[in-house]
Amino acid sequence: MFPFNFEWAWDIAHVVFFGGFWYAIGILGAGMTFCILKAAYDTMKGNGASDH
């Protein structure tokens, strides 16, 4: 899973597989972080509970 696991190899299979995995995790993590931070910011700006 990580390069420090002993069965890890820097071969095409590992790079493609874990490249895809960490990429997906990255998108999900970044997306959620963005949503949470922006929600905190919006809340602090205080534009109430009805902004649509």
């Binding site: 696991n5 597989f17 998108i27 999900l28 949503c35 919006d42 509970a49 649509h52």
Partner: protein, 418 residues
């Protein structure tokens, strides 16, 4: 009693009635939980699996719930990426069903492995060449996606939504949902496929093995395609059941017709591919290994040609045809028959691709092996069903799952067909 939590303007049954319903299903759930703990504490000798049936009822249940849960990714793909806007009226529900299916699959897997405490080895010591590794990674990640897709709906609960932070969070999450949905579709493509690959790569099992493209056997693509095709059938079926139980119309007919039509075309194209695959396998792949087709369907008391015909024709060609022809699709009874057949068909396909593989003798002096699950296996397989019913009941009661519910149920005779 709990009226403050119920979505504004929605009518729900009284709390005691609701509680009794939950209690009844809850009893079934507890039975399953008991069996689950038996398996965890006493080990898999509680099952009727054996060294011929290392994969059995549970793996089938896993494959089946994931296949029917495919409605979530496919509806999400259509709604957010291909911008089929009508589907916004059923996407929440599709996501909830997906969430139930995938959490059930993960739970069943946790019961199914012999050393549950070592389950994380599949990630930590991952063998990237194994289809099951791909399944585990994409399944867990996609479950995270489903959770993310489910959260905004939870945050829309009347009380929760009063909290400004949650209100904003739900709003922001809706804003970037397309990105999450795209990631979900990517992950789903791979795990649905690799579940098919699980069987297709077993070159020691002539019943399972398929040729393919690069590292992916044809079953990889067939599984992805069939999940996208039959998943929406299951979404429609559960929606229909929910409508029957609540006695209300929850989704407008045009939405249902649209999803049924897409599903119909997907099923038809899938079944054509499946027929080609079966013919190629029967006439090229297995003869080269010394087998005749009849070897896999005769000389035993259960697996006959009937299973192949039921899967492909009765539960494949027929529902596909019923759903692409406008008049049958828009006939509620025929549509219901089609989606029920479709759901049975995909479950049967997963059964064949797990249990029949194990049943067929490969060595010339080996014998057919049949198996009947133990009650512990059955109880733990029913467990997710009970859990699903409870979760759907709770979400329906407290969350605005169906955006069209109010419009369809406000004035007495709602404007029906469209």
């Amino acid at each position: 009693m709990d009226s403050a939590l119920i979505p504004e303007g929605a009518k729900r049954c009284s709390f005691p009635k609701f509680a009794i319903g939950i209690a009844i299903v809850g009893a079934v759930l507890l039975w399953g939980v008991y069996a689950m703990f038996l398996c965890w504490f006493k080990g898999l000798n509680q099952t009727n699996m054996n060294d011929y049936y290392g994969f059995a009822l549970w793996i089938w249940a896993d494959l089946a719930v994931i296949a029917v849960g495919g409605g979530a990714f496919f509806t999400g793909l259509l709604k957010y990426i291909f911008k089929v806007d009508e589907l916004k009226n059923i996407i929440n529900f599709a996501v909830i069903i997906g969430f139930i299916c995938y959490s059930s699959a993960l739970l069943i897997l946790a019961i199914d492995i012999g050393q549950p405490l070592r389950g994380w080895f599949i990630f930590w010591h991952a063998n990237v060449h194994s289809m099951l590794t791909e399944v585990a990674f994409c399944l867990s990640c996609y479950f995270a996606v489903l959770t993310i897709e489910f959260i905004p709906n939870i945050l829309e609960n009347r009380q929760v939504n009063r909290v400004p932070f949650f209100h904003h969070l739900a709003h922001n999450m809706h804003g970037v949902m397309a990105i999450f949905a795209a990631t979900g579709a990517f992950l789903s493509f791979f795990h649905q496929g690799s579940l098919g690959g699980v069987a297709g790569v077993m070159f020691g099992r002539p019943f399972a093995v398929r040729e393919g493209l690069l590292i992916w056997p044809w079953t990889f693509f067939l599984f992805t395609w069939s999940a996208a095709a039959f998943g929406p059938c299951f979404t429609l079926l559960v929606a229909k059941i929910t409508e029957t139980i609540t006695g209300k119309k929850l989704v407008k007919d045009n939405v249902v017709h649209l999803l049924a039509k897409i599903s119909g075309w997907m099923i038809t194209t899938y079944i054509i591919a499946k027929i080609i695959d079966t013919i190629y396998w029967a006439t090229v792949t297995i003869p080269s290994l010394g087998f005749k087709l009849s070897h896999f369907y005769t000389n035993n008391s259960f697996y006959g040609y009937w299973i192949l015909i039921t899967e492909v024709v009765l539960c494949g060609v027929v529902p596909g045809a019923l759903l692409i022809i406008k008049s049958t699709r828009e006939n509620p009874t025929l549509r219901l028959i089609a989606i029920v057949l479709g759901v049975i068909g995909v479950c049967l396909n997963r059964w064949v691709m797990v249990l029949q593989i194990m049943a067929v003798p490969v060595m010339s002096f080996d014998t057919w092996a049949l198996y009947i699950p133990s009650w512990q296996e059955i109880a733990t397989t029913i467990l997710p069903v009970a859990y699903g019913i409870i979760l759907i009941a709770i979400t329906y009661r407290y969350l605005p799952v169906f955006p069209q519910e109010q419009e369809l149920n406000s004035i007495e005779p709602a404007t029906e067909a469209e």
